[in-house]
Symmetry: C2
Subunit: 330 residues, 2 copies
């Protein structure tokens, strides 16, 4: 079988030099119309496709955005079951498409995260989007590669996309309160997750300023954890009439626990989730939720990287808006 044609072959067939071939292929100026035509013909005849690796090496830029996800213990099952990550990818791909940039996906195990991160940083080109990296690791990465954007709250110098998690949580509780609920419990996310921390803060502030009681349980940002937390909450505080839940997946579990316990949503217990992920519309009833604009954030992150090195401390703020569905409608 014939080897893949190189630009050398194209040049030979077209009867020009490699340089000329390169010029017309990259449609750079400095090539006459007749030669252009000959080169194009040769390209077509040979089915020539530039070798991106060689291009990248010589030009120093490979035009790839790296996306890093850290996997905790149990493997990366969460990538397949947690909508967050795929939303981020979905947001980035359209902006990368058409500008000849590719997306590289890295799953790094928490235990070896440090080394893995060093290697990724060393080979970064357009830069990296840190989807859920802890502040410490993010800072480490940033030290090795300035072209970095975090999508979660992180070390202060790292450029980031910032969603108003605190405000969102506050709004959620306030909304529940306005609808007349007074025993508003919360199911929070992992204690160390930066987003979860902010949402917890928002809940606490709202509870305090509205004169309510803090009734909290801890979840893990997964459905099962939401189910368990809700059941436990209901047992310990049977008078709960609303729940603010820090993630839709947990909210889906909570809805199941609540109805399994013989109560109705929203009549007995009103629910507001967080994220507005696919889970929010799959539950029954569909969830009122605080929309985290993941796609927009990811797209903006990609665009920022495309523009060049972001300023240290650069930040772009994103609103977290209330999306009303049936889990609060009654």
């Amino acid at each position: 079988m014939r080897l893949k044609p190189t630009i050398e072959d194209v040049a030979r067939v077209a009867g020009v030099s490699r340089a000329t071939a390169s010029r017309v292929i990259n449609n750079a100026p400095g090539a006459s119309e007749p030669l252009r035509a000959r080169v194009h013909a040769a390209v077509a005849e040979l089915g020539y496709q530039p070798n991106e690796t060689a291009r990248a090496l010589v030009s120093g830029r490979q035009r790839a955005v790296d996306v890093i996800a850290v996997t905790y213990g149990s493997g990366i099952g969460w990538l397949g079951t947690h909508p967050y990550f795929s939303r981020a990818l979905a947001g980035m791909m359209p902006v990368l498409e058409g500008v000849n940039a590719q997306l590289r996906l890295h799953a790094v195990a928490q235990e070896t995260a440090a080394e893995a991160i060093d290697e990724i940083a060393a080979n970064a080109t357009l830069g990296a989007v840190l989807a859920d990296i802890t502040p410490v690791l993010a800072a480490r990465f940033y030290r090795r590669c300035r072209r970095t954007v975090s999508m979660v709250p992180t070390a202060s110098s790292v450029p980031r996309m910032e969603a108003d998690n605190i405000g969102g949580a506050y709004t959620a509780v306030k909304q529940l309160h306005e609808r007349g609920r007074r025993r508003i419990a919360a199911i929070h996310g992992p204690a160390l997750n930066p987003c979860a921390i902010d949402r917890r803060t928002g809940y606490r502030r709202a509870v305090r300023s509205l004169g309510l009681t803090d009734v909290s349980a801890d979840g893990d940002f997964h459905r099962d954890g939401g189910y368990r937390a809700a059941r436990q909450l209901l047992e310990q505080h049977p008078d709960i009439d609303a729940m603010f839940i820090a993630c839709d997946l947990m909210a889906a579990g909570a809805v199941q626990a609540i109805t399994a316990g013989g109560r109705r949503v929203p009549d007995d217990v009103s629910i507001i989730g967080f994220d507005d992920s696919i889970a929010a519309v799959c539950t029954n009833p569909p969830l009122t939720t605080m929309r985290l604009p993941v796609e927009e954030m990811a797209a903006a992150a990609a665009r920022l990287l495309l523009e060049g090195d972001p300023e240290p401390g650069h930040r772009q703020r994103f609103p977290v808006d209330l999306v009303i569905r049936d889990s609060t409608r009654n």
Copy 2:
């Protein structure tokens, strides 16, 4: 700021030749212990990280698996809302991790798919996993790059991972029938989607062999389509007592439509979905469904690529198993 150190720098600092440095870095034989130590020291001192691009160019192999997704019309919103794709990614990443292979993600617009596919094929290294490519496009890709694996039914010569969609659909209907249901409707997927076609076939065979009536509606593999199809089905055939739905996302919508119409799941209408995606456990009640082992299929596809060129027509079969949850429990 200091430029990134090259192997040249390492060699100089260690006082050896580039060749020797290369040998120890790749821990190839042919370097004495004392020199190895000096090189390692130099690497550590400089924080040297090999440039993967240069490596790839010289060795001809970049160790990357390309994943291609075609986007239809409206953009790739579906990637963020449809669990299939992220499950495939989740399946591949663990097998790629640790073998120093990376994952490249490509979203190609349907209109320009042909050219895009040619370019990807030209730059493929370990090969490509075709997640949802039509047979025609898959064949085209395969013509340009033998290292290809499709995850959906496709042109006969293209190596593939084959799930028993027909058998799964058949099993689902049979299960409903065994539970005493007799008016078993179906909501199918897109007319041209190869998986949807097989599931439709399975439904038809079951209906015929069980002596039931074919009551079908068409969906789009999304929640909204499932909602609409279910509502329409219920209006036109109020005596329906069960539904086989070709995808969990549609099933989630159908559950909502059914309960919104005042009927209960599973008491009045029993439901079996397909996929066993995150949507199946977010609905209320959780869905009985036919499990498509997407993660396993994707992992096997990645492994196949890692092994070298798959045989033409290579196929690996995967079962589609019944997972019983509450939507059929009564």
